[in-house]
Amino acid sequence: MNDFFFFLLDNLKVFWNYTGFANVEMGHIIMILFGITFIFFAIRYEFEPLLLIPIGFGILIGNVPFDLSANLEIGIYEEGSVLNILYQGVQKGWYPPLIFLGIGAMTDFSALISNPKLILVGAACQFGIFGAYIISLQLGFAPTEAASIGIIGGADGPTAIFLTSKLAPHLLGAVAISAYSYMALIPVLQPPCMRLLTTKKERLIRMKPARMVSQSEKIIFPIAGLLLTAFLVPSGLPLLGMLFFGNLLKESGVTRRLAETARGPMIDVVTILLGLMVGVSTQATTFLTAASVRIFGLGALSFIIATCAGVLFVKFFNLFLKKDNKINPLIGNAGVSAVPGSARMSQIVGLEYDSSNHLLMHAMGPNVAGVIASAVSAGLMLGFLY
């Protein structure tokens, strides 16, 4: 009877050692609180809920502590575990191109095609990426790490994940969380910069309505877009190829089912997996470092630089444009590729000053140009540093 009692006690001790309570550290608690905050903001304020809920819940999953020495093959960093297999899509960078396929299939580039000069605003916003790159270098980050931090300024989560998985995989969690968090915080970060850098007169500029774009032009766009950009920057091929392919599925008019799958169920599935795995990858032991805190700071800075660069570029561009052809600088912020969040911001701020001046369709031009430009920038940095 005594033996049985000791055996039972031993069993309970072993069980206790397996539990999260026995293995919990302060880092886990902090990360769990982070996860709950993400979920709260997503539900309460609807800040990018499609991303923040999977990421937030992923943080909870990733920070449930367990006994690593038990070799249970359940952790994301344990080779062969289910989570590890799902994480391969992030680590090897094949989720982001699939997301780009969906983005291509859901994006209407006609705003860009009808007013192609807005493409250049998308290019100007890439200063955010390289501004943050310069600052990161000065703060002592290696060039590969600085590039991964800089890409946060592209405001494009999949691109940031794709580049970081290649150049600085150890920063993947911090960069991905930072990129998606700031995309959710666009309504907080962008309007002050837009107001600060524009005069009231500029905010009231009315832009000419966009012309109708023919079906042929829409079909030519993905083909010419791919050939021109990918020939110049082949290292961006996985992203650019999928983006333009998705768009051709949409615009060809004969592959409706494929386009619907790409922009519907497929992108949803990949978004779920990508968001969740990014969250899970933020285990306290690997995530809670001083570098992560600096990455968060630099990420915000790169967003701000990108926004300012876009607005200032439009003001500069206006110097060369005829009076009736001027661009409202409030669409300059939309050159970051957070589609359609930043274009929506142009519309909201524009309406504050003129309730009948709708900037949304004009802002979609630089917005989608930003997607192309950030993929090109990522390809360039990959080519230079990988």
């Binding site: 023919s214 110049l232 008019g253 940095m381």
Partner: protein, 304 residues
């Protein structure tokens, strides 16, 4: 039209920069390193020394050389058939395999049926499964010194950009490992040393990003103008009636407006798929079976 021709010239100029030269490409499988006289060098599994030939997979996919042929005789390309079915003949991307030239093929897959001759130049070639297509060949010059190997400084890089053969006496002998190893990522080191402030990266990248998007801008500006002109011409053609009277200035009928709104509605909802709308009539043959009879599926109400 002048603008159009200037764009055409711009594109021609751009494409003239493209590299369409007949650059000799490196083979997918390269005879990467050869050691003819082995006195104090690498030892095989049997504890013996002999000359060896290293083959490098120059591609990004696994290559199985089982069934291929190694030879030192141009007139006999099938001299040593590399056995099929050996898992070790599968060479991972950018990996190597080593063959012992000891004329003892009975000792295993990697012991070939000829030796390297220290007293004359050695021709070595790798042929494909049919023995007809030569994949790579190399000639190691006569007068070899012991324990010195010939090969390519950079693994798999047989030719320089101008087509010069890069075969050379190597500084160090590296059987089954890379001829060139990196301590650091050279590209990153270059940036670390020469671009401390990130200015070079920023300027280059911004120029390329702007360049790429300016190209897109020019293409779509041109295509937009062409499209508008075509539309205009089409419109003009349609608006001229048989009597030569234009109808575009007249009031638009209700039917036309309906058609326009319908088209807009379809466009916005992307209902522009070309569906197969062929209607067919074909009789459906159903063989009778009590299992699919409705009578047996119905419940009879209880009789009072």
């Amino acid at each position: 039209m002048n603008k159009l021709s200037s764009y055409a010239i711009l594109f021609l100029a751009l494409f003239s920069f493209t590299n369409c030269s007949n650059r000799i490409s490196n083979p997918p499988l390269v005879i990467n390193e050869v050691l003819v006289i082995n006195e104090e060098n690498f030892v095989d599994d049997y504890g013996r020394r002999s000359g060896w030939i290293e083959i490098f997979n120059n591609t990004a996919k696994t290559q199985d050389i089982g069934g291929y042929y190694l030879t030192n005789d141009k007139s006999d390309p099938k001299k040593y058939p590399i056995p099929k079915g050996d898992v070790l003949t599968k060479i991972a991307p950018h990996h190597h395999v080593l063959f012992w030239a000891n004329n003892k093929p009975y000792q295993g897959t990697f012991h070939i049926s000829f030796e390297l001759d220290p007293d004359r130049e050695n021709y070595i070639a790798l042929f494909n499964e049919s023995g007809e297509k030569m994949i790579d060949e190399v000639t190691i010059p006569n007068g070899q010194l012991a324990d010195q190997s010939w090969g390519y400084k950079m693994d798999g890089e047989k030719y320089a950009q101008d087509g010069t053969l890069l075969l050379t006496l190597l500084d160090k002998v590296t059987p089954s490992t890379n001829n060139f190893t990196l301590d650091k990522n050279e590209k990153v080191e270059k940036f670390r040393q020469n671009d401390k402030f990130g200015a070079s990266m920023t300027i280059t990248s911004m120029l390329v990003v702007f360049g790429a998007l300016i190209l897109l801008y020019l293409v779509f500006r041109t295509s937009g103008k062409v499209s508008s002109k075509l539309k205009q011409k089409k419109g003009e053609r349609l608006s001229i009636s048989k009597e030569g009277v234009t109808t575009s200035s007249g009031p638009i009928s209700g039917e036309v407006l309906t058609a326009i709104f319908m088209a807009l509605h379809e466009d916005q909802n992307e209902i522009h798929d070309f569906e197969n709308t062929t209607l067919t009539f074909s009789s459906v043959n159903k063989n009778y079976s009590p299992w699919n009879s409705k009578i047996y599926g119905l419940r009879e109400l209880p009789r009072r």
